[in-house]
């Protein structure tokens, strides 16, 4: 296989004397979707935020297409960031802008595109997530699932090389989860490279090449879903998933 799109190499992070990430490494090849699972507080979100430098790792290296982030220097971290899309649990749409302008504003201000060009692209991306008719609505007028799809469109418009998704469906009620998962599945099938933290095991197992189980800041187990989840409750990961499935029903 060619060199990975994203490589996370020996990342550690501690906060207030507590080790949150302990020597975490993983890599993503082009078009791959890997899934992070594990109990809350296990370091999944912190890992994603460190990859994006929303938090600065204490040690280790993030390498994007063979280029270490440390080469870019602190001043160019914004250039590094815009190549990676980030989806948040609670959407984080810009409340004062319509759906269309939520998608367009980064194109205009960061990529310096003209207003017309940015809005065109925004409409395309909104259509891609099934929201062609919602462009003029403000976040407060959208459902949770629609908001999350706008935030996916917003990330996609920047042409990211990798997408990081931090529990994208955790803040949604069960009826709305499906529409977001469908967009993510389509995206994966179209060849987007993604790393997703989620509790939707049932969904993830059909799409992902590898499930990574994180607990107490470490990757304790990882492997193809069939392998990892079929150890009949012997492993911690299989046990955790069995519990989730009990709660949510098999997906």
């Amino acid at each position: 296989m060619t060199e990975p799109v994203l490589e996370v190499s020996h990342i550690s992070k501690s906060c207030g004397g507590r080790l949150i990430l302990d020597d975490v490494s993983l890599s993503l090849n082009k078009g791959e979707l890997k899934v992070l699972i594990g109990p809350s507080g296990g370091g999944k979100s912190t890992l994603l935020q460190c990859i994006h430098f929303l938090q600065t790792p204490d040690a280790g290296e993030i390498i994007l297409e063979g280029r270490p982030a440390s080469d870019m220097g602190r001043r160019h971290i914004n250039v590094f960031r815009r190549q990676i899309g980030m989806i948040f649990q609670d959407f984080n749409l810009f409340d004062h802008l319509t759906a269309e302008h939520n998608v367009a504003i980064a194109l205009r201000k960061v990529k310096k595109q003209s207003r017309a060009q940015a809005l065109n692209r925004a409409r395309e991306e909104l259509a891609r997530v099934g929201l062609a008719d919602k462009g003029d609505l403000y976040p407060a007028q959208l459902s949770g699932g629609q908001k999350q799809r706008v935030s996916i469109a917003r990330a996609l418009a920047m042409d990211p090389k990798v997408m990081l998704l931090d529990e994208p469906t955790s803040a949604l009620d069960p009826e709305l989860i499906g529409e977001v998962l469908k967009v993510i599945a389509d995206l994966s099938q179209s060849g987007m490279t993604m790393l997703m933290a989620t509790h939707q095991i049932g969904f993830a197992r059909h799409l992902t090449s590898e499930i990574i189980f994180m607990e107490a800041g470490r990757i304790t187990e990882s492997g193809p879903p069939a392998e990892l989840l079929s150890t009949c409750g012997l492993s911690r990961a299989a046990g955790f998933c069995a519990k989730l499935n009990q709660l949510m029903g098999r997906g």
Partner: protein, 228 residues
Amino acid sequence: MAADYYQALGLELTRGFWLSLKIIGPSAVGGFLIGLVTGAVRGAGHPRFLARLLDGYVALFRGTALLVQIFIVYYGLPNLAQALNLPPFWKALLSLSPYQASVLVFALCSGAYHSEYIRGAVLSIGRGQFQAARALGFTRFQTFAHIVLPQALRRAWPGCGNEIIYLIKYSSLAFVVSARELTGAAQSVSNTYFRFTETFLVAGLYYLALVTLATWLFQRLEKAWARP
């Protein structure tokens, strides 16, 4: 005699009213701009040194009486220039006319209050939107200018409008440094004709009209800027 009085009342108070407007206009705009920058920097806490410096400015202007501030700027600064034996250029610069001293002090005082409304509004914008903007590659400044401030201003605006309405009324303090604005004119007319009640009643109506107009205008703006 009565005709003289009414003529003086109409003429002087209208003239005073215009001077009041000329004081209030630049003070309101200047104060708002000072408050915007000060509140934004203090809300962001960055650059840190500037934020601390502006904390000091706000503490000073919110912590002292407005009347004291006017006296210090109008009488104190020229005295200070004299005492320090500054070069003539500085002496001239520090000797402000009653009009200049009033506008300067009102803008600085008003700015200190505006900055508190704006700082509070900046702090109320969720951390998540800041993160989302940074994640899209916005610089810290762009995030602030395009995401945080437009929302913070909407939240701060009712408070800022309130502050401008206060300003309309405390502009009357300009008369203590002999600016013949509305209150000063009313004072002089009533002293000449010994008719205090009617004179100040009319002056009060001028203020009421101006405040009503401002209230209406601010509400229009609030509605125009509202987002669902």
